[in-house]
Amino acid sequence: MTAIPDPVTALPELSPAWARVRLALMALAVDPAGLGGLWLRARSGPVRDAVTGALTALPLPVRRLHPSLGDEALFGGLDLTATLAEGRQVRTEGLLAQPSALVLTMAERCPAGLAARLAQALDHPRHCLVALDEGAEAEEALPGALADRLALFLSLDDIPLAEAVPLALDLEQIAKARARFLKLRVPPRAAVTLTGVAASLGITSLRAPLLALRLARVLAALRGHAGVRAEDVTTAAELVFAHRATRWPEAAEDQPPPPAPDTENEGDSDGENRPDPGDIPEELVLEAVRAALPEALLDQLAIARAARATGGATGSGEARPGHSHGRPLSARPGRPSAGLRLDLIATLRAAAPWQGMRRKTALQDRLVHIRPSDLRIKRYQERNERVLIFAVDASGSAALARLAEAKGAVELLLARAYARRDHVALIAFRGAGAELILPPTRSLVQTKRRLAGLPGGGGTPLAAALQMAQDTAVRARAKGLTPVLALLTDGRANVALDGTPGRARAEAEAVVAAKAWRRAGFAGVVIDTAARPQDGLRALSATLGAAYLPLPRATAERLSSALEAALTPLQAG
């Protein structure tokens, strides 16, 4: 990390990583709304507390949000107690009413709806968002809609407690910087450089270079520079781009040639047509970001890929429309009890029309007359979305063509999936184990991308495939989906769970896994892709409790229609 520690903003006793944290927080304190905020990936603990504690330096009131936060808390709503007491409508002020630093806890669980609202709120630069992401696994991460809008990213996982000394943010320095950062001279090349570097790192969103440009101003102001200098651009690029990169920057000679020396566009930079003294070579900035990559990026690259794989916006892939709480139905009369929540508004609505009449006959003088018959409870429709888990034998024994057919069938099913509320997941098994190629998704675009590069060959680790199918099914069920397995194989299990070859053990383990699947109460279909129906496989499907379907030489079309036919009774049941 070349530009950090920084002579002006870092203190000598800080470790480089911790100095970077401090610098990011200082910058955020200068321009919280303009920078959008900070994505803080860390487990809860003293190191994270040291960072969140420093947020008091922000010129905005800190407010905590929770992923299950409702619209009422966000935008304000009816204050029922006050409304009833005063007999007129009293509304509460929502969290978004005043500019504030919104601290979102458990950001990796933020549902799409909340993410969309917060993203919208961030589009008007009043608030800043600090997203505390405690994602344990790479695929649990901040929703993309939010990550895209926050300039800064910090991961604290590698910072030992000993390094995490209290972060003394220099408030005076921050205030000074705040007063002047917007007035700083910015060399026109800065925008060109930042855009070019972002492009070489495979960052498509144009918010990234914009935020980096903004950050460069802030850093220059913090460092007391008269204008934005190369080092400010470099540090800004590191802080904003490193976690967004989707590919390694190619070697410098492979870069597209830098744009021709400034063909200035319609004078939106005051007479800056003269050659720029603060020229910022793109290669140097790129080199600096590249230097920042190994630590911050390698796992981030994986995270980014995984997040895209699971659906980007929700990170955890959890709250897809329709099954986060199910389709709300109209409230029905009833008493709240375990599992049944009172729908207060509906209750009041039910009582409202009768108020005049009840008031006349009431023995006591009350503002609102509620009778037990007015009580309403919330109802949600049963979730009926299904996830089809394809477990496809990609071993050498299964012809490669089979795999191609399975891919085609997955796509076909998915193309018709929406109406049936199907999600599709794909497990491929071959060689030493099974791999979840495609986590449950309903996105055809994603599926195509993931399927494109699926290789085949090797042994048949059937038990591993069944185990993975079960894991996937259990997770899907936790999200309210109904898992159904479609196992495509010729049934010749010959690799054990530990990856060692051996037919007897492999088959025994497959039976155990199949029994576990059945115990869990999941449904399924076994498609025998061997040239002649295999008795062993027929037996295995009985153990699984799955329908058996011998289907040699299936085309993608036949496969998908056979599957649909076989699954229809399951769907009904």
């Binding site: 905005l60 009816l78 409304t83 009833l84 007999g87 500019p99 799409a112 709806g113 909340l114 969309a116 609202r117 919208q120 589009d123 008007h124 009043r126 993309g144 895209d148 917007l182 910015v186 925008a191 060109v192 930042l194 070019g196 972002a198 492009a199 498509t204 144009l206 918010r207 990234a208 914009l210 440009l213 744009p259 319609e266 939106d268 916006a313 929700t314 429309p321 709300p328 109209s330 009041l348 609505r349 039910a350 409202a352 029309p353 009768w354 108020q355 005049g356 009449m357 609102v368 796509e411 076909l412 998915l414 193309a415 999936a417 929406y418 996105s443 055809l444 675009v445 994603q446 195509k448």
Partner: protein, 340 residues
């Protein structure tokens, strides 16, 4: 709070760099709302939301009865349940109503006014977002993530142009005619075909590939943020020019000629593509007419058809998941064959 938030105008529509398809699709619906809305699908950070908000500022204002919850153009068209309606007419910006994800059904369609019910024992209707969107635009960001029950509701209303509320003893109906604008990221999920079909036009946006364009985006955005007054001075003029062009096109539209050969072309193209129903054909024609009017032509020509065909038809094709090229390319191929 510390600094008052100066209500800035949205980023000007004409200052959006590139994204010509998106911009022209939106312009066409502004000329002829009957085209039926725009769907913008694509990467993050490509200016989808920016364009919609900019569109709101660009559209010509409407005349409406003051205080009318459904923006009625005449006093006698105001609904009987409306509160606080006066006899005056006001000019107000074309409504662009945001329909947020996770919105409740009550907020969309309207519901019993609790305040009046509790305090006065009156059964009154509190209009929802559909009422406010009447005669304007309804914008749904991340439309593909919208909950199914809200989608169903929208389909229903968009089809009939009327919002029917039967709940809590209320029985209310009011006009709800609006242009749907939806945006989303296809990686996050598919859009239901029924809803897809409801959008007149659909465009895909991608991040610009060449550095020069990307730099220009950054420059303009930076100027908007940091030299607001100067920036707006230039672009407000451009926006005004575009607005006038839209108004002129609206006037020219009824007089525009549609030669029989163009109708024939429309039908031939839709047949060749196998697009479902007549909706595609009608939208294609309407969009082509709007484009011709926008460009000051007196008659629709094949060139107009050719240019609007991808945005009018690509989302209406039967999906062929095994075709790697995507539906826009299919429209392009067929165009080249049918309308050389």
């Amino acid at each position: 709070m510390t600094k008052t938030h100066t209500p800035r105008q949205p980023f000007p529509f004409s200052a959006i760099v590139g994204q010509e398809d998106m911009k022209s699709a939106m312009t066409l619906t502004a000329i002829d709302p009957g085209i039926g809305g725009v769907l913008v699908f694509g990467d993050r950070g490509t200016g989808k939301s920016t364009a919609v908000r900019a569109l709101a500022a660009l559209l010509p204002p409407i005349e409406a009865v003051e205080g009318c919850p459904i923006n009625a153009p005449r006093r006698d068209l105001c609904p009987p349940w409306a509160q606080g309606v006066t006899d005056r007419m006001v000019t107000k910006p074309t409504p662009v109503v945001d329909l947020p994800l996770g919105v409740t059904e009550d907020r969309v369609v309207g519901a019993l006014d609790i305040e009046r019910a509790l305090t006065r024992g009156e059964k009154a209707f509190e209009p929802g977002l559909l009422a406010r969107a009447n005669r304007g635009y309804l914008y749904i960001d991340e439309v593909n993530l919208l909950e199914d029950h809200i989608v169903d509701l929208l389909l229903d209303v968009a089809q009939s142009g009327e919002n029917v509320v039967e709940r809590e003893g209320l029985s209310i109906r009011h006009p709800a005619r609006f242009v749907l604008v939806g945006s989303g990221n296809p990686e996050e999920g598919e859009l239901r075909p029924q809803l897809l079909d409801r959008f007149g036009l659909s465009v895909e946006v991608t991040s610009p590939r060449d550095i020069e364009t990307r730099v220009e985006v950054i420059r303009r955005r930076d100027a908007y943020e940091n030299q607001y007054d100067k920036f707006m001075k230039t672009w407000r003029v451009m926006d005004a020019g575009l607005r006038n062009q839209i108004l002129a096109a609206r006037e020219a539209l009824p007089k525009l000629k549609t030669p029989g050969v163009v109708l024939h072309d429309c039908a031939a193209l839709c047949l060749a593509l196998g697009s479902d129903g007549l909706r595609g054909e009608l939208t294609l024609l309407r969009a082509a007419r709007a484009l011709a009017a926008f460009e000051g032509d007196t008659a629709v020509r094949r060139t107009h058809l050719r240019r609007v065909a991808p945005m009018a038809l690509s989302h209406r094709l039967r999906r062929d998941p095994l075709d790697e090229a995507g539906s826009a390319a299919r429209v392009g191929r067929t165009l080249a064959e049918v309308l050389p």
